[in-house]
């Protein structure tokens, strides 16, 4: 029992460490990210002053990097849903140490993604018209509905399983931290004392949430794809689009999760809890989704390419041979084939290999979104020379700022909230080690006692 309580102590210390100690490197990172965001804010102020003319978008290619980044961020928000809901439903135990990180990613990515829609608007000052004059017939309204619902659901789903850990922070940090933190944990722990009744409500709340959030997440990326599929554009004219986007979303979500895991593991010394097994398991999952993506691509491309209806020939030429070919081939080979190879080869089936695969997938999936958006609009509709599009410094700056915002929010979250689901990890550990002893329970009455959820 001594070993177990020592293990518990270490777990709590690891979870509390980021909150207790903040080094110079952390502030340097925050300062750097704030500088990038500040630069993006300047670029956006230029865009507000001069209009969207400062971007590379024009009448014929009227969406570009902003919309691609919006789709990309909404895609990676599926990390949380996949890991914490789908794996929870399927009772994959190994997921517990990484659930919290995945749920952070979901909320943060949604905030970043939604902001890119606003950035893309010609009249951001009229964004409230969406609520005043909203029409349910418009795919954009479906998106507003789905994304706000998903944001609310994922914040709830981040918060509810965190309550026992917030109570742990409240108890362990009482009087030993700043006043606002003490207040924050006290309020957010909403009086959690670990009683049997509370634990049962928590279990049932999580049970309902994890079932509810899966259809919401699926609906979100489906309606995102319908923004494109509901138009009369040849490359977007696909009934497969919704499922294709959902698969791609989960795919890129896993990749981002692996990257965030690797960074936080090193930064906060989580080696004991986030192990090679997590990377390899997620790497296998990513390879499986890569296979699904390959299947979807073949299905999509063959059905259209075999018949080569009007506009399809132009589209195939641009993605396979002409201006978008380097990007598209990188996506196919680097983003879809490489992760499978990396996961299959024993030599690369390790943390380093999985991180490399994840970086490839993340870049490739951003490129895929970009190629989908731009090539869809690139196919000429009338007898005119195809238009061209290249993002300007304003667009690149805002992309950098968006990524920096993503990193900053994750960084700040890790300094305020428990990055590891302490009570769930403890519960799994106990289940593994054996029935917990009565003595230990008597000694630690508050936060961590849990029944099997």
């Amino acid at each position: 029992m001594a070993a177990l309580s020592e293990w518990h102590g270490r777990l709590e210390e690891t979870a509390l460490a980021p909150v207790r100690r903040t080094g110079l490197r952390y502030w340097a990172l925050v300062a750097f990210l704030l500088a990038v965001i500040g630069w993006g804010a300047y670029a956006y102020s230029v865009q507000l002053r001069d209009g969207l003319v400062v971007t590379g978008m024009r009448d014929r290619i009227s969406w570009g990097l902003y919309i691609a980044t919006f789709v990309f961020f909404i895609g990676i928000s599926h990390a949380g849903t996949l890991i914490s809901a789908i794996l929870r439903v399927s009772q994959a135990r190994w997921r517990t140490p990484v659930t919290r990180m995945a749920e952070f990613i979901t909320v943060v990515a949604l905030v970043c993604g939604a902001s890119f829609v606003i950035i893309d608007l010609g009249r951001p000052d009229r964004v409230l018209n969406v609520f005043i004059y909203g029409r349910w017939q418009s795919p954009i309204i479906w998106d507003v509905l789905a994304i706000t619902t998903y944001l609310t659901a994922s914040i709830t789903y981040l918060f509810v399983p965190m309550i026992p850990d917030l109570a742990l922070f409240r108890d362990r940090l009482a009087g030993r931290t700043s006043r606002w933190r003490g207040w924050l944990y006290r309020v957010l722990a909403i009086g959690w004392n670990g009683s049997a009744a509370q634990r049962r409500s928590l279990a049932s709340a999580i049970g309902v949430l994890m079932i509810l959030i899966i259809p919401i997440a699926v609906s979100v990326h489906t309606v995102v794809s319908w923004i494109f599929a509901m138009t009369l554009r040849v490359p977007w004219n696909s009934a497969l689009f919704g499922a294709f986007f959902v698969a791609g979303a989960i795919f890129s979500g896993i990749a981002i999760l692996i990257i965030v895991m690797a960074i936080l593991r090193r930064a906060y010394h989580l080696h004991e809890y986030v192990t090679e097994k997590h990377f390899v398991n997620l790497g296998f999952l990513m390879a499986a989704f890569a296979a699904i993506m390959i299947y979807a691509n073949i299905s999509e491309l063959l059905v259209h390419g075999y018949k080569l209806e009007e506009g399809v020939e132009f589209h195939f030429r641009q993605i396979f041979l002409a201006e978008f070919a380097p990007l598209f081939w990188f996506y196919l080979l680097g983003g879809l084939v490489a992760p499978i190879v990396i996961a299959l080869l024993p030599a690369t089936r390790n943390i380093r290999g999985m991180v490399v695969a994840s970086v490839l997938v993340t870049v490739a999936m951003w490129i895929e979104r970009y190629v989908i958006v731009v090539t869809g609009l690139h196919v000429p509709l009338m007898p005119y020379e195809p238009a061209s599009y290249a993002p300007t410094w304003v667009e690149w700056s805002l992309l950098a700022a968006g990524l920096a915002l993503f990193a900053l929010l994750i960084t700040v979250f890790t300094k305020i909230f428990p990055i590891i689901a302490v009570w769930e990890v403890a519960e799994d550990h106990e289940a593994m080690v054996g029935a917990p002893g009565a003595a230990r329970r008597a000694a630690r009455p508050a936060a961590l006692e849990t029944q099997d959820v």
């Binding site: 009448d59 009229r126 004059y133 609009l377 329970r441």
Partner: protein, 342 residues
Amino acid sequence: MCPPTGEVDDGPEMDLEESERATADRDVDPGEAIPPYAVTDGSQFGRRRFLRVLGLGTLAVVPVPILPELMRVAGLAEGQPHQGHDMGEPARARDGRIRQWTMIIDLRSCDGCQSVGQPPRCTAACIEGHFAPEPMEWIEVFEAELPGGGTQFIPTPCQQCQNPPCVNVCPVGATFSTPEGTVLIDQERCIGCRICMAACPYDRRFFNWGDAPIPPEALLADYSPEHQVPAKKGTVMKCDFCPDMARTGTLPYCVQGCPNRAIYYGDLEEDVATNGRVVVSASRFLAENDAYRLKEDLGTKPRVYYIPGHGEAVGRDVFTPDRQPTEWPWMEWAEGAVTWQR
């Protein structure tokens, strides 16, 4: 999200449990499996209040997506999204029927203004009449290859679809169908999301990417969706079919501007169309000259009809390509403005 959590769990089950709490035992061993409806803690911050906080917290955020509906019910927003545009009364025929504007473009008479040696006059007249910013060509003369070689010129205004893809996708009802069968844009409502531009299969929508050059007299104009002057930055514009002019008995600028009288404008309800010189029965004219509509297979049901041809009625040789590029006079008139390429 998820009101069901609160509602379901806070429901009858809770009351049942509350009644059983009389014999609450706070020291029940948490490590042991707890059967349903077991004797549990009812004091302090028990399950009920815990769930209430959760439920109220989530319920507080749920209304965000249904805000428009709530506002509508509360009378804060207009009842119909399409209402509230600053527009004139629809034109009516003598017997009270609402006119259904149409345009018939006789390609047999269109030579892309090769014979007058100028940029297409329809486009130029439209630009000058509407102070259309560079590089907008609300009626654009495309030169299309003919299947057997040679080219034809196709003046292309907004097709005024009766099943308009742009109207379907607009999130705020800024672009809308009118009783006269036209499609208009309210630039005072448009949020500039440009999904209508992605949706239009005819490439007939134009965005004000920056501060368009506006000549001083345009600033004096009385803006309405039927008369999109002056241009507003960050909003979408297109051919409005000039219904305000038609109502006063004036033909649209493009019809007036055509030197070959290739463009007819009229009312399908009264079955009449004119190019300013001759008046025809619209239905007979369309039927007898094998009229077609652009991209008929898309099902958009345009109100703009074409009579097939390549300028043969005005003596154009089908193998004489190219037309003069369109010009916009505004940059000389408005200092400090910006233009952009399409």
